[in-house]
């Protein structure tokens, strides 16, 4: 798979065209067009209910869309289970509530998909897992269970777990929203480091400091639409739309 990707080094990592999605009659995503280049870091923000989580959950088909086309790493998304799973193996995801597997140790959380999905031998999986846990500075907790860790530690394990699959692109769905304030930094530090290593990232977050530091592009969504997108300096200093100004005023105003 990776050889095929190498052949299209300049091809976009994620390409979304004309994406529409409804929950029942409720139109959550409206005519979304978004192209994410390889190595690009994108921060998506917007008021709650604006469809930003739904948008990134469509990229790995945790949500099914009704109209439009999604291509991830050269593979068009279809309804075929095999294709969906193929795309998911290339896409790592980090959730707001971590979603670690509480019945497995930290190490097993990181190994389970390597051994069962990638069919790696256990020893190799453990080696990869320990390297990555080392990278997020939590290798000393490898034998513990998620319930014994703090929120910040759990979220770093969740990032490590996603990285263990060696994904081409990482999706972050409000990764710091469920954390106590003093733990946000340790998670953001890991994400900044990941960005510096050249990982393609799409982050739904309200951490505007993070957006300013690492984002190549900030996207503002409201009512299921992309209202504005710009590099961080332009976005924060010269927002064009009134809704963006209002939103920024609300979250930066105090």
């Amino acid at each position: 798979m990776n050889q095929a990707n190498a052949a299209r080094a300049d091809a976009p990592m994620v390409e979304i065209t004309g994406l529409n999605k409804w929950y029942g009659d409720f139109h959550v995503l409206r005519d979304i067009d978004l192209t994410v280049a390889q190595g690009e870091r994108i921060v998506i923000c917007g008021p709650s209910g604006s469809g930003k989580s739904t948008l990134i959950r469509c990229i790995n088909h945790l949500e099914e869309h009704q109209e439009g086309r999604i291509v991830v790493n050269g593979l068009p998304m279809t309804r075929d289970v095999k294709r969906i799973e193929q795309i998911r193996r290339n896409v790592g995801m980090v959730f707001q509530h971590f979603n670690l597997f509480p019945h497995l140790s930290v190490l097993d959380n990181c190994c389970i998909s390597q051994t069962w999905v990638q069919k790696k031998p256990r020893a190799e999986a453990e080696r990869t897992a320990m390297e990555i846990l080392e990278r997020v500075q939590i290798a000393d907790q490898a034998r513990k269970y998620p319930g014994q860790l703090s929120g910040g530690q759990q979220q770093r394990v969740a990032i490590a777990r996603a990285l263990c699959m060696q994904p081409e692109v990482m999706l972050f769905d409000e990764p710091t929203s469920a954390l106590d304030p003093e733990m946000i930094k340790e998670v953001l530090d890991v994400m900044v480091e990941l960005a510096q290593d050249g990982m393609t990232m799409l982050c739904v977050t309200h951490e505007m400091g993070f957006a300013k530091t690492v984002a190549d592009r900030v996207i503002f969504m409201d009512q299921g639409q992309i209202i504005e997108q710009a590099p961080p300096e332009t976005f924060f200093n010269h927002p064009r739309s009134e809704r963006t100004k209002l939103f920024l005023g609300q979250i930066l105003g105090h």
Binding site: E85, R88, V91, I112, W116, V117, Q148, R161, A162
Partner: protein, 371 residues
């Protein structure tokens, strides 16, 4: 009164051991049984009542009971006469299984005990292989040993089976069969495929909606009317299938409760890593939900175990039925109490054992201090 506002940093309070709040036996008695005058009176009344009930029971069952002998002449008539049980012990255990062949039953008993012990004691190695053998190899082996008719063993028809041996056979087959079928039904009931879901719903609601006695009657009386006369289904086999399906419907609902308690984020995380349906269920969702519903599963096992005695109404001689049969023996008229108490005790020992083991397993599988 407001606390004074301090400006200097307080000194670190040294870490201490928690205070010892134990107060010895008298302290415990006072705190738990005699802490108020009313509770003191209640305690005294309870103790009096208990001793009034327990003492005669003990007198009857132990102190004045007759233990030795081989006929009813050994019974003094003051207390219980356990000679009734010991004299009939062989038939209580083996039913009408031919005496010369009872070693086969013994062998199966020993194997079963060893396998259960092996799986239950955490220190013993190779759990996976022993487990596979217990679920696949052992039933086949037990079948050939008990039924016979091949490998030079004489055939023992199931109508000669009985007693504890029959009770354990039905319970084991029921337990081992109903859990996996129940799990599959529970998964099926949550399936997105309408045919699968529909089948599971109808199956579960049908078997849950009829009394077990009806199931057994249908299995023994009605089923033979529908199948061609050349095909002869064993009566025990029919009862076993009925019991297995009946309890798997209950099991399915217990397991479904556990499935619903697992947050959707768990399956999403597994999906996001590219796991397929069976991997998500087998590795992530089921281990968590089954752990959650251990009490419900064991509850069902216990109910199943006790309800095996219902097979007596279709003429199978389980533990209870064989004791009842013994009561009609003209040499042993009038020992119903001993018989029923003994039967109750045997059932209780097995059920209590399952209950304790499930509590132990719950503690052992508990991971993490929080959640």
């Amino acid at each position: 009164m407001a606390d004074t506002i301090t400006t200097t940093e307080p000194e670190m309070v040294a870490e201490r051991r928690p205070p010892d709040l134990r107060r010895g036996l008298l302290g415990w008695l006072h705190a738990n049984l005699f802490n108020t005058p009313l509770n003191g009176v209640v305690t005294l009344i309870t103790v009096t009542l208990l001793s009034m009930l327990l003492w005669p029971a003990l007198q009857w069952a132990v102190f004045q009971a007759d233990w030795l002998g081989d006929s009813r002449e050994a019974c003094s008539g003051e207390g219980a006469c356990w000679v009734f049980i010991s004299a009939r012990f062989e038939s209580i255990v083996y039913g009408f299984y031919p005496e010369a062949e009872r070693w086969r039953v013994d062998l199966v008993f020993v194997l079963l005990a060893v396998l259960i012990a092996w799986l239950v004691i955490p220190r013993l190695p190779a759990k996976r292989w022993v487990g596979v053998f217990a679920l696949v190899g052992f039933p086949v082996l037990a079948f050939f040993l008990l039924v016979g008719g091949s490998f030079g063993l004489t055939h023992v028809p199931t109508r000669e089976w009985g007693g504890v041996m029959l009770t354990l056979t039905i319970a084991t087959v029921g337990i081992v069969g109903s859990l996996p079928i129940g799990v599959v039904l529970a998964l099926g009931r949550r399936s997105k495929m309408p045919l699968v879901r529909g089948f599971c719903v109808v199956f579960i609601e049908f078997w849950r909606g009829v009394p077990l006695i009806t199931v057994l009657f249908m299995a023994s009386v009605m089923l033979p009317l529908f199948v061609p006369t050349q095909v002869e289904f064993d009566k025990l086999l029919r009862a076993l299938v009925g019991i297995m399906f009946f309890w798997s419907a209950y099991m399915a609902e217990v397991v479904r409760g556990g499935l619903q308690a697992i947050p959707s984020g768990q399956e999403e995380a597994a999906k996001a890593m590219g796991m397929g349906y069976w991997q998500r269920m087998g590795l992530i969702v089921l281990p968590q939900s089954l752990k959650l519903v251990i009490p419900g599963i064991v509850n069902t096992f216990i109910a199943l175990f006790k309800d095996t005695s219902l097979v007596l109404i279709i003429g199978l001689f389980d533990l209870l039925a064989i004791i009842r049969a013994g009561l009609t023996d003209s040499n042993w008229l009038g020992f119903a109490t001993e018989g029923y108490v003994f039967a109750a005790l045997v059932f209780w020992v097995f059920c209590f054992g399952m209950s304790r083991y499930s509590q132990y397993i719950e503690r052992r599988l508990h991971t993490g201090h929080r959640n």
